[in-house]
Structures are given as C-alpha cells and as structure tokens.
Symmetry: C2
Subunit: 356 residues, 2 copies
C-alpha cells in the first residue's frame, strides 16, 4: 500500500444538497492527491491535502507546450453502502500508454490505484446517491519545469481531484444529435489521438462550437487522412447497430481506446451478439441510414456511459436513426453497465474494485 501523507482540511465545505443538479465538473470535494516527480529522483511525497490552487512559475512547460495528460473514472455508492470503482486498472493501462507517447515518466499500477482509493475513501461522504449520479475522479499529470525550451519536462505533478456529478448530458439517456465534421480534424495516425492528452481536446473546440451553433451536442470525427472513415466523438467512442451487427471503428492509432468501449464489446461478445471492430465509412453509414439497416447508434464513455444518438448530420444531409428513440441494445448496455457499477447486478466479470 502506498505510504501517503495525509493533511485533512480544517475547513470542510458543505456537501451539495440532495436536490442539487450537480452540473458536471463544477463542484470539487474537500481534498486532492498530489505527488511530485523529479528526474533522477522519481515520484515522491505522495500526499492528500486540502483542495487548493496549483502554484506554478509562468514559464512552467504545461502552459506553453501542452505536455499534460488526464484520466477519467468514477466511484459509485451501492445501496448497501459499499464504494465501487469501475475498472481503474484499465485507466492505469491507458495512463502508461499516454505517458509513453508524450514522454512523461510512468506511474506504477499500485501507486495509481492506491492514490485514487485513498482519496475517494477520505472524501467518501461526497459520493452522491441519487440515480444517475456518481463521484467523478480526475487524475492528471502536468509538466512543471520552469523552462521555455522544447523538450520533455524533468519535473511533474500527478494530481487527483474529485467531483460529485449528475449525468454528463443534461438530456440523460435521451438521444443526442451528432454533427459529422468534414472540415476540422481531431487527430491522425502518428499523432496523439490515442493518448488522453489536452491536444486532442483543444483540437476539437472549433468544430464543437460550430456544431453547437447548429444545434448539435457532439461532433463525430472522420479520419484525418482519407477524411471518410468514422473515428470517435471526442468525449465518447461510437457504435452502430447495422443489420443486427454491432460495429465500432477499429483502434487505428488516432482513436482513444475507451474503457466503456472495451466493456461494451466484451458484453456484446458475452451475450453472443455479432460485434465487429473495423473501418466504417461515412458513406456506408449514410447508405445504412437510407436503407433502414442502421438500427441503433450510441456513444460510450465514462462520463455518460451510453449515449443513444437519435439524429446525425453530414454536410447537408440530416438523418434520423430509426425512430430516433433509445435502441434496445443501448438500453440493455446502459442498464447492465450501470447495474454493475452500482452493485445492483452481480459483477461476474470482476469489473468493480471496492474502496475499503
């Protein structure tokens, strides 16, 4: 077990009221985890301290060269009072891959998971219990060298913060409208698309604003090379049910390997549903929509779990997915995954980790 120095807050905040809608990412708990890194010394001084500002030199590399990474996962409170994390070791695997891609020092699996467990335990009272709510966990690493040359930083901070959240989409499990982007590109093979780093999100802002202005809640990205294959939705991976088969874009180096994505594939396989990871072009999608073969579309991600898509637009073509409602598979996946996360269904796949 990681030896964590603990400094408890002397001024605990008031917990959000039960009826607070808990807008995603706005309310933070009483404590945060911090650990420092120096080249030659490694990670040191793991500590839990009162939630407080970060103080950095103006020349800190994170402000200039975007060397930063983050993860996202959730803690859930079960009806019998246990606290469960959902597949945190899969987040750690992604941390390692991201860190290698952007030249950050690696963190050991136990250190990563223990830090999260210890912090969630201390702020356990903050885990909300209303349906659809959870405690969102945001681990992140920032480059802190006070140096303006371009190279990997020699110093870092690994920080974990927590926020009680409601549903990511105010619509809840209602179908969202998706804009298929034909001008801007999120990521390309050889770039940072499969790493969970700020660059991909910064790259997504412009198209997101355009889509919002047109009344769409999310952007579906095409590949950056041929500009015709479906990639992902930035905050989510994307799945299609076409003629009874579940199809999702194959991980090609520019798509984030989502943990909910992986869980959905594993569940479909468990249920004996045909599931394919492969290239899927926007033309195939449009044809499937026209012919009626496109039975369901849904996004998968930690924040929203499953987001049914009711409506897509590509250039001037707008099309509804079936009746635009919530598909049968979308609903079953949502019920199953959230059921396991909340301890309502038996966790036969050993996906949850209890915080004790």
């Amino acid at each position: 077990m990681l030896d964590i120095r603990i400094e408890k807050t002397q001024n605990p905040k008031t917990l959000p009221e039960k009826d607070n809608p808990l807008v995603f990412g706005t309310i933070f708990t009483d404590h945060m985890f911090i650990m420092n890194y120096e080249l030659g010394k490694g990670w040191f001084d793991p500590r839990i301290v009162p939630y407080q500002p970060i103080v950095l030199q103006p020349s800190a590399m994170v402000f200039h060269y975007g060397q930063e990474m983050f993860e996202g996962l959730k803690a859930y409170k079960t009806e019998d009072g246990r606290t469960l994390l959902f597949r945190p070791n899969k987040n750690w695997e992604r941390v390692i891959n991201t860190n290698r891609r952007i030249c950050m020092p690696e963190i050991e699996e136990d250190v990563f998971v223990d830090a999260i467990k210890a912090l969630v335990k201390i702020d356990e009272a903050w885990i909300p219990t209303k349906p659809g709510t959870s405690l969102y966990i945001r681990p992140f690493i920032i480059a802190t060298d006070p140096f303006l040359g371009v190279r990997p930083s020699n110093t870092y901070q690994f920080i974990v913060i927590l926020c009680p959240v409601g549903a990511y989409y105010p619509e809840g499990l209602n179908p969202v409208k998706i804009w298929i982007e034909d001008e801007y590109v999120r990521a390309v093979k050889g770039g940072l698309g499969e790493a969970k780093t700020g660059a991909n999100y910064c790259a997504s802002l412009k198209a997101q604003v355009k889509a919002h202005d047109e009344g769409y809640s999310q952007v579906l990205w095409l590949d950056g090379v041929e500009r015709k294959y479906i990639e992902e939705v930035g905050a989510m991976n994307i799945f299609f049910k076409i003629n009874g088969t579940i199809v999702t874009p194959v991980l090609n180096g520019s798509i984030l390997p989502g943990i909910t994505r992986k869980s959905v594939i594993e569940l479909c396989e468990l249920w004996g549903l045909p599931v394919e990871e492969r290239k899927i072009s926007v033309d195939e999608l449009l044809d499937a929509a026209k012919s009626g073969a496109l039975e369901e579309v849904f996004g998968t991600g930690t924040a929203a779990v499953i987001s049914p898509v009711g409506h897509l637009r590509f250039e001037d073509t707008v099309f509804q997915v079936k009746d635009g409602g919530i598909g049968q598979i979308s609903q079953k996946l949502y019920d199953t995954i959230t059921g396991i996360q909340l301890g309502k269904l038996e966790d036969t796949l050993n996906w949850t980790v209890e915080v004790k």
Copy 2:
C-alpha cells in the same frame, strides 16, 4: 496607448553577468504583464507586476484540455542604445489566427504591441548586448475556467514574460543535423498545425527524443496524409536551395507561418533570387542531395534566426548538404536579418519597431 497599472518590484534580481552564457528560456526578468478576460466583460485590468507564480484552480481548463497559445519574438539593443522589436505586428496577426482556431477571445493589435513595449521598457536593463544575445519575449494565453467539461473557457489570462537569451542552438551559426521523421506526425490539414498552440509541441516530443538519442538536434516533419511532403522543423520552418532556387514548403494548413520564414522570402524576392513556396517531397530532396543539386538547407525561426543544416537523415539514408558548411545564402540572410534587428543595417523594409 493602453492604460497599464504598474506595480514595480521591491526586490529586483541581480542582472546576469556579462559572461553568463544565457541558456535559452531559463532566466526571467523582474516583471511580467498580465491581463484577464471574462466572457461578457472582455479583457480587463492590464498590469505589469513583479515576476511571480501563476495561481490556478486544479480544475483550470489549461491543465486538462490544452487550450493555450503562445508567441515568441525578441527585443534587441542597438549600439546607439535604442531598443528594437522585430515585426511585432506579424506576431499579433498570428495571435489572432491562433485564437480563432482554438476559440479564444481576440486581442486588439495595439493592446498586444503596447503590452510588450511597456514591459520591455520597464525591464530594458535586462536586454543583453553581447553578439548573438537578445531579450526573448514570450506572450501567452491560458484558459482558466475551473470546469472539467470540454468547451472553450469563459475566462483567460494573457501574460507576457521576458528572458535574456544567448543563441538558441549552443552550436550557434554552425550547421545542425536534422532527422526526417517517418513514424510520428506533428500535425495534419484540418488540425492545429498552423496555430501556435501547445498541442503541436506536445505532439513533437516523442520523435524529438528519438532524434536526440540518435545524435540529431531537430526533427523535420513530413505531412500527415501522404507522409512524403516536407513540412517544418517544429521550432523552425525549413528552406532548401536547389539548383540556385530557394524552395520552402507552401503553407498548407499544417505548417506554422513563421515570421522569419516570411522575412526570408521577402528578402530573397528583394534580392532577385528565385524563390518558390511549393510542395517538396522527401524523394525530391534525396534526389537533389544525391545529384549535388541540393546546395543549401537552413531553418528559420525567431529563436535561432537562421540555422544552417549540414546533415540530414531519412530512415537509413544519411546525406551531407554540399560540404556541410554554412551556405552563402544562409550566411547572407543571417547577416541581413540580424543586422536589421540590431540596427546595424538600414531598415528599408520597416521591420523594426522602436521601444521608446
């Protein structure tokens, strides 16, 4: 003139000693400029304060989603004691383009230039005077909303810091070795490559480390679509002299529009040298090197001004540029641009702006 609140330091630092080698980006002056932005209020409270840390919430968007931009330019001290900036209005033009691309609020031209002038004036004593030295100016903007949802921030800080610098490359105007990267990609059309934002630099780290490990100081990037056209060097644009013609990759959306690049093109045109902005493939480059048609290669950038390239490597092919020395055009461009910057040559093109 921008109305700037000024709080002078009570504890001025000791100026670097004359023989200090001034490693790029490590020493900062006594003051910094800061201005805040809030949606609905615009930019406000422009101020010059003692150089000090930045204090931000752990949830500040810049730490998570990479919404950050920067610029780089220099102030020079002339022999007759004047302080000159080099084409700061071109930096402002690029600020605007970057800000639009990554959904940041724009800054007015006068505000940008006045902020720099006022700060440089206050820390004028920090401008070093030894040959090859200058005062590097780093304006940057960071997204500060304490919010974990993905969208453009509603609050920002625009900051300017200054550092006295020697030559960017310890080699000085000695030829550098360039690694042509065939695996990783810096940027792609539709992405962020033409914006001066952290994402492009984060994306460059992995190949840069690989190149350094092989003994190369910089990476030359290929396009992300066909992976065969030359783009840029991350910290520099790139020029080739082939059979007497100066060739540089045409700005295609994934190349940073360098101000030194622009100045070089304008000088070549002024001198009546044939200069072409066009696609140039790595194959063409290799052929030109083999046939002896590749007469000079040089990088252009604010930090290094002109960097002759003596040696390139693509996959397993290593080739020298001519005798690997400093080309005639490289030397003439360096002498002319630095001559104008330092007030030694008449500024017939009106490139310099005096700080009074």
